[in-house]
């Protein structure tokens, strides 16, 4: 499978995400935000963590409207797979590819630590390598990870089994302990925790590796 990792000014997890895809056996290409088209034959796009455009205006807002942004939206609307981690999750909500918004942590502090997550659904190419209900340890590092969505939107996410991960102990005030959500077609995943930071033992954990492995083998053609 062929993955593209997008780099914005201020992205700082793009190399980790690149390595995580590569370790799972994917061919990976880097794409600069000023490109207006994706390279041919891309199966999955990774939008990395960091502080794209210095978090100006709102986290992810400027990145979501950057030249490559429209290509990402078109790709997702054609049924392409997109993984957004941390700032990448914020970008996906700003693009309108995922519902809700990510707001300042309830405790106002930047939180950087490993957190326990429950895999809420195994029914997606991203989460099929886990068991539903499995507990995994993935680091978070964010100040704006407080997922907010209105009551109607939340009911829809729950009803359609689109909450991918929940925090075991809510660190940031997120509605319904939500750490990651899927799009309606289950091919776009946004999550605040960083699975790319735990794909090999040298990183202190390997609980993120199953996500990239499952994705690499489980993607259907767009």
């Amino acid at each position: 499978m062929k993955a593209a990792v997008i780099t914005f000014p201020g992205s700082n997890c793009d190399r980790d995400l690149f390595d995580a895809f590569a370790k799972a056996g994917d061919e990976v290409v880097k794409v600069w935000h000023k490109e207006t088209e994706l390279p041919a034959g891309i199966d999955v796009i990774g939008i990395p963590g960091g502080f794209s455009f210095g978090d100006y205006l709102r986290c992810g807002a400027i990145a979501s409207r950057s030249p490559i942004g429209q290509a990402v939206v078109d790709f997702a609307q054609r049924g392409g797979y997109v993984l957004g981690v941390c700032n990448g999750f914020q970008v996906l909500t700003e693009m309108g590819l995922l519902p809700g918004a990510l707001m300042r942590n309830a405790g106002l502090k930047f939180i950087s630590k490993p957190v326990a997550l429950t895999v809420t659904t195994a029914d997606s190419a991203f989460t099929s390598g886990y068991d539903k209900g499995q507990e995994i340890l993935i680091p978070i590092a964010h100040a704006e990870g407080n997922y907010q969505i209105d009551a109607e939107g939340l009911k829809q996410l729950q009803g359609e089994d689109r909450v991918a991960f929940r925090y075991v102990e809510n660190p940031n005030g997120a509605t319904d302990d939500i750490a990651g959500v899927l799009s309606a077609n289950r091919r776009v995943l946004g999550m605040m925790p960083h699975p790319e930071r735990v794909v090999e033992p040298a990183q202190g954990g390997t609980d993120g590796a199953a996500l990239f492995r499952a994705l690499s083998s489980g993607m259907a053609a767009a």
Binding site: T93, E94, M103, A106, L108, Q148
Partner: protein
């Protein structure tokens, strides 16, 4: 022509920053501040000369970029 956009969190959306400011005011002895909501003011210098056209254009900017209408509301003043 100048435009001023006020962006505020919608009513009912928790504003942790506003709450922190409220608490700080309380520590400083400003009692009686029941709530603080924090927003943004964005000023634009526009080439447009027609007020109605300028207002429509700025509203489009708000919908597409300046505000996240999932959580924020906005008002536009043209001067």
């Amino acid at each position: 022509m100048k435009a001023r956009v006020h962006v505020m969190l919608k009513d009912g959306v928790l504003d942790p920053q506003g709450e922190a400011v409220r608490a700080a005011l309380g520590h400083m002895g400003f009692s009686g501040v029941a709530a603080v909501r924090q927003g943004k003011v964005i000023e634009l210098d526009l080439a447009a000369t027609d007020t109605a056209a300028a207002e429509a254009e700025v509203k489009a900017m708000c919908e597409k970029l300046l505000a996240n209408t999932v959580i924020e509301k906005y008002t536009v003043e043209i001067a």
